[in-house]
Assembly symmetry: C3
Homo-oligomer: 468 residues x 3
């Protein structure tokens, strides 16, 4: 090893983990309480006051199956999608696990302060929908991690997540509450924001000599199969992602159908472009692992609207093509001309499809008619109530488009600022010739080409006596 | 490479994907609409007209968790079960992904035309049950893929799926609607049909010199572990498969219990026979990966009936034995004497247990009594309503048996016809010495025995600059 | 191979499987019936008698999604967590599959006799909650397997499971019914019992020359990634584990929230301690794979109580630390001084956190107030009804603590007895130099360093002609 940078994080990583976890305990103690559907006393009172006869009407039964699907997407989906590198699988799945676990706690607080703070008691009430929203919130930081994979230290990732969750909560508040946009699956607030946030950080952290780690920047046969676990769990559960917090009843039902259809369409166009781009028609695992998901990203806003099944097919069709072209042309060009290194290609999977999804949502909202939705349905779908009772669908479409721009602006500006913070020489990040290498932050088992014969005792990697 | 056949699919695969996907968009535009539980306007009206007070009675909440389990079985279950070959894991999981994604779209149309076409409007209404049925439908083509694994091109697989879904929709209409059979978990319509369909295709496509690819026809240690992911997700979620579209209430409840019990029993007899068959009592991963699932296949028809828990145990007991014996004796003999090469052994896992499941269902139906089911229960379970109000359980049993024969006939005849189509020399299939090899259709990363030292730049497999 | 012990199980394993499976069929025939929610006739009558208007109130819809999550934990979670050894992945996931499949059947009977036997008819009624409980019951034997991994034969594991399930049913009856403890997620009855049961067996089976197998006692890069599949599915679905059989409504809702929060906290403290313990701050996969789960184990009893979100955070915080310290110091010391070899470190993941979870539950129960729970909520949460209507929370806390001691006593005493049985020289266990090796009980594919060239036919590991 000729790396000269110090990647020792023995002080900084434990310090960050302990300080932040203790801060979480204190803040949870001050602020977080069960909501009226998860508190035993309040739920009994709630049932009486709302004339509910059966426990099955607890929000838990509407949302818990979708929550668990989303949870799998966050930890197994994102985690395993990032195991594709030949020697960074531990970091891919392990750091994803670490920052998601921290992020959801901070998200419960940040989102709680903006959306669920009781002004009388000063307390935040949480229920299953809060857990889903926390998972959603942290997804944007995991997307950003995709651009940085292999090039940053876990301490830096904790910082990315701390600021990512904070920025998310603010832009979400502006977009959903102030602009009153609808964005149940988060094309804007999750994917466009997270994508541009990660790209901006990666741009600031540009490594001119990253090709010194080129030997480790590819995949192996089995690491590509591991990554397919991530891809498939993301793909299969995306209908749950886009429907998890939509309206009870037809809203969840329709969002799941639309997403299912769009994703199926993405797969075919991804395969088509991937095959066309090789002179012998061979498919590229990078495309199959990523671009097949673009339809789900792009349906994040419009899935709950009456976009129609063929509308969903068209969205998936186009986004599969656009995303695959991105992997073929845009990512290499961005690295060459923009000096932007994007390890997982989040530009093509999250940033662009997320942005498109925001605008698709705007168009579909603007095109909504009372004939299709019904009067009551329009109110229900777009929440035209209270201060927004008189808003028209055309205005709504305009605000949806504006929301998309807000999310991108937050991502770019926030990412640049966070990137500058991460350039401080205190974070234990790897040197250019030491990227994409689990050796820097993990005890890696020695790979034995052949299992040594019986009675040879000199193997010092054992399960039960880890080196101290 | 000394293969002489041209496996270049740069024109044909993109052409097929684009043409079919565009056709899907047009046909969805003409035919497919949301049903009354997923359309925002219709659901509001439906609640009023049916006096429904809570959104929890939307069919989404009855079926969505089961749908997601089935979805995992289709994409991760079938996909990873087919990763066992040492150098065909990309093709196993990747082509499964491709054809399932195409198949579900075509299935929504085909099944819609037969079962959900509104004669007044000419439109097909879809909801969550349609998605489950589409997944079921495509399962039969994925089963057929199991017999063909490693020996066909992705273009051929698209043809297999196009015809497979079409034939499925017709046989399903005959069996479920005309013969009025019950087959919620698809022993007949999915497994027996899909199994014999794949076997017939494979028989027509017999490769006399396939042993030229023998070096690649086995597994490696880690590919066998990958395949266990597929096995376990199929095994765990099979109760959801068999209960996903059964009657609300006790129907779904009972189908899940029966399947759970039958599967547990299959595991023990599979292990017993596998151990007995080796001279030192060693277990064979092929059996554990496959025959353990036979109990689920065989319960596909009877799971919703009152087969009793010990009846389920007996079914699992017998099918574990039969299926393992199939792997030990029947598959080798079929290859030797019938000239039928069955890569995954679908004969033993799907064709025979599916056929047995059909007949078991017939027997259990014929043995149904008013004492056990109650008068109302008999009507609910067997749908003795409308034109079929006067049918007796004995007649029902006869029709169930007839339905099994129909499904087999469709599989065999359809498979022979499709096999002949696939023998046209235009599909880009591999030569005999090039089977089971991902190199034919995938850009495969170069395997490095040892990671080269720092500062060596000649690795040309990188994530960000794929060859064009 | 120079092993001298005979690991041939060609007679014993099939014999045990067949005898026990046939016994299951007979006993199921005599005892097991559908309950009133899964029997078509009884459910129709039940709806009338209980004035239920919608099938959605069938217990299936309250519990089935959680059941499937628990099912994944048992088969994929525990199974893949045990694939970490370089050459025992087949045994890890395969034997887990075998003994869980047997165990759930025996558990349905044992738990049925104690909890669901109708005194009039002599029959056991089963429904979805019975399936969850059977999965729970078998979890304790799988935990015990963790201590024995690689050192016992599958026949011994069947014996461990037979006695493990039996002991579980008895201690569960004493703790839940006689002592009237609450333990929905099983800190006491599952984890403390299972942990000490496995440790006691392993202690009795001490192998002084186990270091002769040291070459196989570590992991490889990819086997560690496989194990992360197990870790993550356990981690993600633990909220379902702890909420699966709690009270409908706020009970399930609150248990899921508390567990989610505790687990997130465990991850951060595990990472902190793991990093601190290495001189360069590197993380150890052993800790990430295991100690991150400690918060879920420790919330098994208290999750359904009003422990408050910050209380959950504190539990996770402490248990992540304690568990990681266990892996660092206690496991090596136990091996050295106590002569106790614990392959997976279940002492640190199950035994100690389970015991702590029991006492945490006792404290939280004793601290319950009518102010927080409400009068009706106290009765609902602690089942202060019937014979226990007059019990105070303080008494309840005392009984909870007593229950924890009972579970540990059952584990230790039962484990010693079972360990002595397993020392009989009839079980086909491996010799000391043959442990951790799949070769003993599995046909293992030959690993080819490089795929041989085309036209070489001498590979004799093929899919379709297994050696007989």
């Amino acid at each position: 090893m000729m790396c000269c940078k110090n990647t020792n994080i023995r002080i900084s990583l434990p310090a960050v983990c302990f300080v932040w976890q203790i801060a979480m305990i204190v803040l949870f103690g001050v602020f977080i309480r069960y909501d009226e559907e998860s508190d035993v006393r309040k739920w009994i009172e709630f049932k009486v006051s709302h004339n509910i006869t059966s426990d099955i009407e607890n929000d838990f039964y509407f949302r818990y199956p979708s929550f668990q699907d989303v949870h799998v997407m966050i930890f197994v989906g994102f985690g395993f999608l990032m195991t594709f590198l030949k020697r960074y699988s531990f970091g891919g799945v392990g750091f994803n696990f670490l920052i998601a676990s921290f992020g959801v706690q901070w998200a419960l607080l940040m989102q709680g302060w903006f959306h669920a703070l009781d002004p009388d008691t000063g307390k935040i009430s949480i229920g299953v929908e809060s857990l889903i929203n926390a998972d959603f919130c942290v997804a944007s930081s995991l997307i950003a991690y995709g651009a940085l994979l292999g090039k940053v230290s876990p301490v830096q990732l904790m910082v990315v997540t701390l600021f990512g969750v904070t920025l998310f909560a603010v832009e979400e508040y502006i977009i959903l509450s102030l602009l009153h946009c609808r964005d149940a699956g988060g094309s804007m607030v999750i994917h466009a924001f997270g994508g541009y946030y990660g790209l901006a950080i990666s741009w600031v952290l540009y490594r001119p000599n990253l090709n010194q780690s080129k030997r480790l920047s590819g995949s192996t046969y089995h690491s590509d199969v591991f990554a397919m676990i991530g891809t498939l769990f993301l793909w299969m559960f995306w209908p749950s992602f886009n429907s998890a917090i939509t309206d009870h009843g037809s809203g969840q039902h329709r969002a799941a159908i639309n997403t299912y259809i769009a994703l199926a369409s993405s797969v075919l166009t991804t395969v088509a472009i991937s095959s066309m781009s090789d002179k012998r028609g061979k498919l590229d695992m990078v495309h199959i692992q990523n671009a097949t998901l673009a339809g789900g990203v792009a349906m994040g806003t419009a899935a709950e609207f009456m976009i129609t099944p063929y509308g969903s097919l068209i969205v998936g069709f186009c986004c599969g093509i656009i995303s695959t072209f991105g992997y073929l042309f845009v990512t290499p060009m961005m690295e060459k001309y923009l000096k932007l290194q994007d390890t997982c290609g989040i530009h093509n999977l999250h940033a662009v499809p997320g942005m498109l999804g925001g605008f698709i949502g705007a168009i579909v909202a603007a095109a909504a008619t009372e004939e299709v939705y019904g009067r009551e349905g329009l109110i229900e779908t777009f929440d035209f109530e209270g201060d927004f009772a008189s808003r028209t669908v055309l205005t709504q479409g305009g605000f949806q488009a504006a929301g998309t721009c807000v999310s991108i602006a937050f991502g770019v500006v926030g990412g640049v600022v966070v990137g500058l913070i991460l350039r401080l020489p205190i974070w234990g990040d790897p040197s250019d010739d030491n990227c994409y290498d689990d050796e820097a932050y993990w005890e890696v088992p020695e790979e034995e080409e052949s299992i040594p014969p019986v009675l040879e005792y000199n193997n010092h990697m054992t399960r039960k006596h880890p080196d101290m």
